[in-house]
Symmetry: C2
Subunit: 196 residues, 2 copies
């Protein structure tokens, strides 16, 4: 059933972000192992346990330019090697569409970059509203010890382009160094980039 032609409401817990009435989309390590730069470590951890890295909601809303997509995104705490658990990250298919995140709990970073190579990385903690400008791919990274929970909203027709990031990655990574988050250049970025 498509939502949004009439009004509706759903409960998303302010504590853990979960919506009891809806099934979330879940990404386990087996789904996203390639996003982490230490692939050997990812395989080793995966052999022991296919951990839940993140989950989010994709509601069946009309995909019209006057509609909005929204839900919560929950990235769990943990590391693969020294790299924090994070989402795949994506551009919007309609590139010039922004997205708003409102962080409900946890602590994290939003990595953003556009196709010109401009990038920004901003902190998220409970109460942070973060604006992802038009044209910027974005990825949530959990740098804390509790789930990173954000409410998000974007134009419903914006769509997702996961392919670009999947093939070239982000230019920068956030890793744990001396128990603190540190932004480094992605050692795998150039090899995979196809900006000839």
């Amino acid at each position: 059933m498509t939502l949004g032609n009439a009004s509706f409401n759903l409960i998303f817990s302010l504590e853990n972000g979960l919506c009891p009435e809806r099934e979330s989309s879940k990404r386990h390590l087996s789904d996203v192992k390639n996003i982490f730069y230490d692939t050997a470590e990812a395989e080793k951890i995966l052999a022991a346990d296919d951990q839940l890295i993140y989950e989010f909601y994709e509601l069946p809303l009309p995909q019209d330019d006057g509609d909005l997509a929204f839900g919560t995104s929950i990235t769990y705490p943990g590391t693969i090697g020294d790299e924090y658990y994070m989402t795949k990250g994506h551009f919007h298919s309609i590139l010039n569409t922004a997205e708003v995140y409102y962080c409900l709990s946890g602590s994290g970073m939003m990595m953003m970059e556009n196709s010109d190579g401009q990038w920004e990385c901003r902190e998220l903690s409970a109460g942070t509203a973060l604006y992802v400008p038009k044209g910027f791919a974005h990825r949530s990274i959990n740098i804390g010890t509790r789930p990173l929970v954000s409410f998000f909203c974007f134009r419903a027709d914006a769509g997702h382009d996961y392919k670009t990031i999947a093939s070239q990655g982000f230019r920068h990574l956030v890793v744990k160094k001396n128990d603190r988050p540190s932004v480094i250049e992605n050692p795998r970025w150039k090899a995979q980039a196809n900006d000839d």
Copy 2:
């Protein structure tokens, strides 16, 4: 300074909705006395005290169809006669644009109606995400004893049409009856309607 051409973040308290870095837009009783149907009671209260009825944030975002407007809306608890404190309510100037509310605290109702006379009134409590469909005017009503705080998001170019509601009102009101909210027909609606 216009926000949103680059990424930015702002803190909106999850407790009271306030953003210490920005000035809110405030609506006192003197600004909104005409929205309450018991005008004599509104004048009487106003003579004693020009109470703050609600406040919200209007951030200087670019008003492009790819941008988003967002902020918090805080409606304070109280009544004018038997009518709860509420916002003016508005259509969007680009009528066919939706809006998402995510209630952070308090308890309230969202009154919605479109120009065909279809209407809905839905409850808001902490954790409720509410979808205001395209074409529906909407008004927040505080039916509780604490501030009603919601995070909102809509297309930045949608604009506000306050005039239609200011001249004809909503078809339905929410009043306090035996200490509980009750939806009644607006006794002033027909007289002011201009749908000839």
